[in-house]
C-alpha cells in the first residue's frame, strides 16, 4: 500500500547538502600583489588579511576571492608559483560538518585539519587536480572572514560590483573521455544536475554544463580537442565566469580599467558574453549574460528533508 507519509520512500532531496552558492574562490600564487593588481582592475578591492596565513581577501558585490601565497602544507594541493592557479572553491552549505561527512561516505578525500588556535576548521575535500572544495556554513550573521581575517583599516568592506557582476560559474578542464566521470562526481557528492545540451550561456559553449542544486552557479566541464587529446591528462579549474545583466556595459567599464578582451573572429565581446585575454601566464575571466539575481532571502537555504 502506498502511503504519502512513508518517509522511507522519499527520494533523495534535490539539494542534499543545502548548498547555497559560493562563499569564496581561491587562487594560489607566489606573486599575490601581481594577481591583486589584476583583481583590482577587474573591480575587486582588498578587504582583509588572514590572521596566521599568507592569504588576502578581495571583494566586489557579493563575490569573495582569496589569494593564497602560503607554501603548500598538504600533499596534492597547489604549491604557489608565479602563475596564479585556481586552487579552491568554498561552497556555502546548510551544515558544513554534515556535508563533509556525507562527502567522505560517498568517497571524497578529506584534507587534514590545519586551523591554528581559535581559528575555524573549515572542512574540505580534494577536488580536480590539486584543487580543494571547502564547505562553509557560517556566512550569514557573521562569516569566516570575521573570525580568521583582520580587516584592512579604512577600506569599505562591501565595495559595490561593477555592472552587477556576480559569480556565474567555473570552467573545469577534464581529460579525454572524462566528462562522464566528473559529472558523476559532482552529481553524486554535491547534487549538481546536468543541463540539456541546447541550453547554453555566454560565448564559450563547449562541454557539459552542470547546475548547482541551489541554482546559483554552474560548472562547465571541457575535454581537450585537436592535438591536445594526445597530451598527458591535465585536469584543473581553468577560469571563473562572472554573470552580469549588461555584458557590453561591464566590458566597457573593465576596458577603461585596463582589462583587455579577446576580439577574434570566433571569440569577441557581444551581448551574450566576453572573454578577457590571458594575464599573468593564464588567468582569464569570462563575462556571461545573466539576469540579476533576486535579492538574498534572509536566512540560509535549509537542507530539504
Amino acid at each position: 500500500m502506498s502511503n504519502a507519509t512513508d518517509r522511507e520512500s522519499v527520494p533523495e532531496s534535490p539539494n542534499p547538502i543545502g548548498m547555497d552558492g559560493i562563499e569564496f574562490i581561491e587562487f594560489t600564487t607566489s606573486k599575490p600583489q601581481a594577481l591583486g593588481g589584476v583583481l583590482e582592475r577587474m573591480g575587486f578591492r582588498p578587504i582583509a588579511r588572514h590572521r596566521s596565513r599568507e592569504v588576502e581577501l578581495y571583494r566586489q558585490g557579493a563575490m569573495n576571492i582569496v589569494i593564497n601565497s602560503q607554501p603548500a602544507d598538504i600533499p596534492r594541493t597547489v604549491e604557489p608559483i608565479e602563475r596564479p592557479i585556481l586552487s579552491a572553491i568554498a561552497i556555502r552549505v546548510h551544515d558544513a560538518d554534515a556535508a563533509f561527512r556525507r562527502a567522505l561516505d560517498l568517497g571524497g578525500w578529506e584534507i587534514p585539519i590545519r586551523a591554528q588556535a581559535l581559528e575555524l576548521n573549515i572542512p574540505g575535500i580534494h577536488g580536480v587536480g590539486e584543487s580543494l572544495i571547502y564547505f562553509v556554513d557560517r556566512y550569514d550573521e557573521f562569516s569566516i572572514f570575521d573570525i580568521d581575517f583582520r580587516a584592512i583599516p579604512g577600506v569599505d568592506p562591501n565595495p559595490p560590483a561593477i555592472a552587477g557582476l556576480d559569480f556565474f560559474g567555473i570552467v573545469q578542464y577534464v581529460g579525454v573521455n572524462r566528462t562522464d566521470d566528473w559529472s558523476e562526481f559532482y552529481t553524486q557528492v554535491f547534487g549538481f544536475k546536468t543541463i540539456p545540451d541546447e541550453v547554453r550561456f555566454g560565448i564559450m559553449p563547449r562541454g557539459l554544463l552542470l547546475q548547482s542544486p541551489c541554482r546559483k552557479f554552474y560548472l562547465q566541464l571541457i575535454e581537450p580537442d585537436g592535438t591536445a587529446q594526445f597530451a598527458p591528462m591535465e585536469e584543473h579549474l581553468q577560469r571563473i565566469g562572472f554573470g552580469t545583466p549588461d555584458v557590453i556595459g561591464a566590458a566597457n567599464q573593465l576596458e577603461q580599467r585596463g582589462i583587455e578582451f579577446l576580439a577574434t573572429e570566433k571569440v569577441h565581446t557581444s551581448a551574450r558574453g566576453a572573454l578577457t585575454k590571458a594575464l599573468l601566464g593564464g588567468v582569464m575571466f569570462e563575462l556571461v549574460h545573466a539576469e540579476p539575481r533576486e535579492p538574498r532571502e534572509s536566512g540560509k537555504a535549509a537542507a530539504q528533508p
Partner: protein, 296 residues
C-alpha cells in the same frame, strides 16, 4: 604487427623489478601490469620503484590488486578505505589509470548486493579525481561474487562510469562458463581482460582451481585449452571489446627461469593471439594511446 593491445603481468617474471621491466620491453611489449608488492618491496625505496616503472617506457596497464575491500562495516571498512587510498596514490604515482580489485573472500564481508555495490561505488568515487578506473573481478572462492556475470550485476547496481569489470580467461575456462554469457555484458563495462592457459585438462574443485590459479598457469597457446582461449578472445572482439589484454600467468616454475626467457614466451603468445587468432595488423580505433613517460 601491433602489440599494443597485449601486456605482460610483470609479476609473472622473476628477478629485480628493473630486470623484469627491461625483459618485457626488449621483447616488444609496450605495457605491463604492476603488482603493488613489487613497488613497496623494492630493495632501495618505493620512490626508486616508481622511477624504474616511469623510466621503463612501458605503459602501466594497471596496478594490482586491492583485495577484500567491499562488504565490511565500522572500523574494518575504514581500515580498508585507508588501504584503498594508499593503493590509489601508488597507482597514480606510477602513472597507472586502472586499479584491479578482486571480489572479497573475507568471511567478515556482508553478502548484501546493495552494500557491496555501495562500497564499490565509494571506491570508484575515491579513484575518480585521479583518473583511475576500478576493474572489479569475480573470484571463484569469493562468497558473493564468484564470476564475471555476478560482478557485472554488482557493477550495474553500483552504476558509476569509472567502475567496470576485469575478466580472467582462466576463471571462465576453468569453471566452464558458456561463452554466450558474454553477450549479456556491455563491452564498455569491461576494463581489463586477463589471459592465461593451464595444463590440467579439467579442474574438479574450487580448491584445485585456486591452487592452479596461483601456481600452474601457462601462456596462451602453451596449455591444454588453446581452442577455448581462442574462442573466448574472438567472442570478446565480437561483442566489441577494445581494451587491454594482460598475460596474467602465475607459475612457480616460471619464477625459477630467467625473466628474458619467460618474456620471450609471452611474446610468442602475443604473436599467436595477434596473428593467428585475431589477425590484428592495425591499431584498433579508440584505444588508449601510448603516453610518454612523465617525470614524477
Amino acid at each position: 604487427m601491433i602489440f599494443n593491445d597485449f601486456g605482460i603481468d610483470i609479476a609473472t617474471l622473476a628477478g629485480s623489478l628493473e630486470t623484469r621491466l627491461a625483459a618485457a620491453r626488449e621483447c616488444g611489449f609496450t605495457q605491463g601490469m604492476i603488482s603493488a608488492t613489487d613497488i613497496v618491496g623494492h630493495p632501495t625505496s618505493t620512490a626508486a620503484a616508481v622511477r624504474a616503472i616511469r623510466d621503463s617506457g612501458l605503459r602501466v596497464t594497471g596496478l594490482e590488486a586491492l583485495r577484500d575491500f567491499e562488504g565490511l562495516s565500522g572500523k574494518m571498512h575504514d581500515y580498508k578505505v585507508d588501504v584503498a587510498k594508499s593503493m590509489l596514490e601508488l597507482c597514480s604515482r606510477i602513472g597507472g589509470r586502472l586499479l584491479l580489485t578482486e571480489a572479497s573472500a573475507s568471511i567478515h564481508a556482508e553478502v548484501d548486493a546493495d552494500k557491496i555495490a555501495r562500497d564499490l561505488r565509494k571506491l570508484a568515487i575515491l579513484a575518480l579525481p585521479m583518473g583511475i578506473r576500478i576493474a572489479f573481478k569475480g573470484l571463484s572462492w569469493s562468497r558473493t561474487v564468484k564470476n564475471f556475470a555476478a560482478a557485472a550485476d554488482i557493477i550495474s547496481l553500483a552504476n558509476c562510469p569509472n567502475l567496470g569489470l576485469a575478466i580472467d580467461a582462466f576463471d571462465v575456462i576453468a569453471a566452464g562458463v558458456p561463452l554466450d554469457d558474454l553477450d549479456l555484458i556491455f563491452p564498455q563495462q569491461i576494463f581489463l581482460v586477463q589471459l592465461s592457459d593451464f595444463m590440467l585438462q579439467e579442474i574438479r574443485s574450487t580448491e584445485e582451481q585456486a591452487a592452479t590459479a596461483a601456481h600452474f598457469r601457462v601462456f596462451p597457446g602453451e596449455g591444454a585449452h588453446s581452442d577455448q582461449l581462442a574462442k573466448f578472445i574472438v567472442k570478446l572482439e565480437e561483442i566489441g571489446y577494445f581494451g587491454d589484454y594482460s598475460f596474467d600467468v602465475y607459475n612457480g616454475d616460471y619464477l625459477q627461469m630467467p625473466a628474458e626467457v619467460i618474456a620471450k614466451r609471452a611474446r610468442r603468445a602475443a604473436d599467436w593471439l595477434g596473428e593467428t587468432v585475431l589477425r590484428r595488423t592495425l591499431p584498433v580505433p579508440n584505444m588508449e594511446r601510448l603516453r610518454p613517460a612523465v617525470p614524477e
